[in-house]
């Protein structure tokens, strides 16, 4: 008798009881339907199980939750506004547009929410050394920030390509006391940074905590990161009820790994009449180089979980491409893969060019410079808002600010001088 059979039976029982909800996952083994799980080297398994136990205890501990909430309020600056973007609304010519201002958080993106939660967990587990991967550098900056706050050693793995295109964030991490280790393998982007972070973790398993930045990786990370990010959706619910007296009609968020999207979506998944849209990065186009795992990939196993992956016919992982470093990853969180297959969430994609246009539009019309990642959500909202009635309430996750992307935008627009200067 193989020893996990009882868990499987329990999982089936739970699933049967909860078919009327999209919010009950994952099961005891970390599975969202067939997705998720714990596909890691044996060396890491005992630690992964320890993280799972420790997080379950922390989640149920009012003192842990209170400290998390207090730091979100006093350190991150939550709640951030749900802003009625009148000029974008006017320009799109239809739905009433709201921007959830994660860009106004300390460190400039939603990433800090999760980092606060996980650093409290790492401290609770007695860990002294933190490692993380980063693509755009926002998660790296947020991790370096909480490590400074809690006095922990911090090593950030970042692809050499990303280091090149996100220089300001690299320097911010160094100022915050983190060591940034360039990763040269593969395309030297987020996937490769995650490989090297896992290699570090397996080597330093006794004293190191891996602070994963998105709703991916082995269980319990996808569920844990989602729980920490769910504050986004919880605030939106309260704010839109206060401002409009009812729930929104649609939610739109960009997706790389998918943490800002999952944080916005999760509290609303069981609202029957709410349209939920995740926007992947179509890069140069879905028939060319892109990063849209759901639109252009198929299920596979990488980095600890089963999910949709960009891969060739032999199961080799393909290189993703997006102008936005934060979306430049060939996979997606397993809960998104499940929500895709269950049909609850619509997953669409937006090209580099469309994202750059939306970046400029938001900047000019609202005086808000959005991250290139968030610009994908704005771009898709712009495609559909015009065909929707004026009383349609649409919430877009403005997951981060775009200061870090100014040089990339300058290059994309052919402003060579500015591209060289910034």
């Amino acid at each position: 008798m193989l020893y996990w059979h009882p868990f499987t039976a329990q999982a089936h029982g739970k699933l049967m009881q909860s078919l009327n909800t999209y919010r009950a996952g994952p099961d005891e083994r970390g599975h969202f339907g067939i997705f998720g799980g714990r596909y890691v080297a044996e060396t890491l398994m005992p630690l992964i199980l320890d993280v799972e136990r420790s997080y379950a205890a922390a989640k149920a501990d009012p003192a842990f939750q209170a400290e998390f909430r207090q730091l979100l309020a006093q350190y991150v600056g939550r709640p951030n506004p749900l802003y009625h973007a009148k000029r974008l609304t006017e320009a799109f010519g239809g739905a009433k547009i709201f921007l959830k201002r994660e860009d106004l958080n300390h460190t400039g993106a939603h990433k800090i929410n999760n980092c606060i939660g996980q650093i409290l967990l790492a401290r609770r587990m007695g860990k002294k050394r933190i490692i993380a991967e980063t693509g755009a550098g926002q998660h790296g900056v947020a991790t370096a920030t909480v490590c400074a706050l809690f006095g922990m050693d911090c090593v950030i793995y970042m692809g050499a390509t990303d280091i090149e295109r996100q220089q300001p964030n690299v320097y911010r991490m160094k100022l915050l006391g983190a060591e940034v280790r360039p990763v040269q393998s593969g395309a030297a982007t987020l996937k490769d940074a995650m490989n090297d972070a896992l290699r570090d973790w397996v080597t330093n398993v006794h004293d190191t905590y891996y602070l994963i930045g998105t709703v991916a990786g082995p269980h319990p990370y996808p569920a844990m990161v989602r729980d920490f990010q769910a504050v986004i959706g919880e605030e939106v619910r309260n704010q839109i009820l206060a401002q409009e007296g009812r729930l929104p009609d649609s939610l739109v968020a960009c997706i790389g790994g998918g943490s800002n999207a999952m944080g916005l979506f999760h509290p609303f998944l069981d609202e029957p009449d709410l349209r939920i849209i995740g926007v992947e990065a179509a890069g140069h186009g879905l028939d060319k180089a892109h990063a849209a795992s759901l639109s252009g990939g198929r299920p596979g196993v990488l980095h600890g979980n089963r999910t949709y992956l960009l891969q060739d016919g032999d199961g080799q992982i393909a290189e993703a491409h997006s102008i936005s470093a934060g979306l430049d990853y060939p996979g997606i969180g397993p809960e998104h893969a499940w929500l895709h297959e269950s049909g609850r969430v619509e997953y669409v994609s937006v090209t580099d060019t469309e994202a750059v246009e939306a970046f400029q539009r938001c900047t000019r019309l609202e005086g808000i410079i959005p991250a290139l990642e968030s610009s994908h959500a704005i771009a898709y909202a712009g495609k559909i808002a015009g065909s929707l009635p004026a009383d349609h309430l649409m919430v877009i996750s403005l997951s981060g600010r775009g200061d870090k992307d100014v040089a990339t935008i300058a290059r994309a627009l052919g402003d060579i001088h500015l591209g060289g200067l910034v």
């Binding site: 020893y3 080297a41 596979g300 032999d314 199961g315």
Partner: protein
């Protein structure tokens, strides 16, 4: 009786441990790799681990990462890896071959079909680095059905509470990863290996092979006194990297294998 079981029985009768070696299938190219593979038994290898190249080898250090990159660049596929085994089997029906790698290429192939095709090619077992016992149920029954061994990895972090669950799936032999880390980096002390092997032995009667960080004939001999097998990978793979484009690409790894084999054979148990 499986080739693996038979091989360890023979070695036990000879009173010595196995030399287990790793190379990546298709490194530096498929033709050269086939020549190395075919000559491993004559050089003294008792059991062959053949790496299935993967784009994202998270548990491997630089030597084996680069070997996988070379193999993929040279056009290696899962099909060419199985073809290499089938070609090897035309001249050698005794030496066990274990495929080692990551789960996604097998997931893509389909676990049931891959098990059948691997058995057909002459493979004897699989080591899948990122398939812990918690997830192994999707592959193991298919391996059992065609008589392939699922070789489990135990590590310094696999404690006595967890060991029985890990070993519940095991057959063929047990691979003890002697360090917490990636391939080809640090080495464990002999006393640490001895303690670990004794600990594992309390939970299983299967042969135990020890790998990670074993590079020299002396280290191989040391391990051969403690366990049923010593596994050497990165050191051999590195000799290929160091000699690419020269005739030594074939002779250099085989020369190292001969030294390692001499070390293992000198260390009678």
């Amino acid at each position: 009786m499986s080739r693996i079981e038979k091989r360890f029985q023979t070695l036990k009768a000879e009173g010595r441990a196995a030399l287990v070696t790793f190379i990546t299938a298709g490194d530096p190219d498929i033709g050269t790799c086939q020549k190395i593979l075919d000559r491993l038994p004559a050089a003294g290898v008792d059991l062959i681990e053949l790496g299935m190249p993967f784009t994202d080898p998270m548990a491997d250090g630089p030597s084996i990462q680069l070997a996988a990159q070379r193999a993929l660049a040279a056009g290696a596929t899962m099909t060419s890896t199985l073809d290499m085994v089938a070609a090897f089997r035309k001249t050698d029906t005794e030496t066990p071959i274990v495929l080692m790698g990551y789960y996604n290429p097998i997931h893509t192939w389909g676990p049931e079909r891959f098990a059948a095709d691997a058995a057909q090619a002459g493979v004897d077992g699989l080591i899948i680095v990122d398939l812990p016992p918690e997830e192994a149920n999707e592959l193991v029954p298919h391996l059992r059905a065609v008589g392939l061994d699922f070789i489990v990895l135990t590590t310094p972090t696999t404690d006595d509470v967890r060991l029985p669950a890990v070993l519940a799936n095991a057959s063929g032999f047990v691979y003890y990863v002697s360090i917490a880390g990636v391939t080809g980096t640090a080495s464990a002390s002999e006393s640490a290996i001895e303690d670990a092997v004794q600990r594992i032995r309390r939970h299983t009667n299967l042969p135990i092979c020890v790998g990670f960080g074993i590079r020299t004939p002396a280290q191989a001999a040391g391990v051969a006194r403690l366990a049923e097998g010593a596994v050497v990978g990165s050191a051999i793979v590195q000799t290929i990297a160091d000699t690419i484009g020269t005739p030594a690409t074939i002779t250099a790894p085989l020369a190292l294998v001969e030294e390692l084999a001499a070390g293992v054979r000198a260390a009678r148990r």
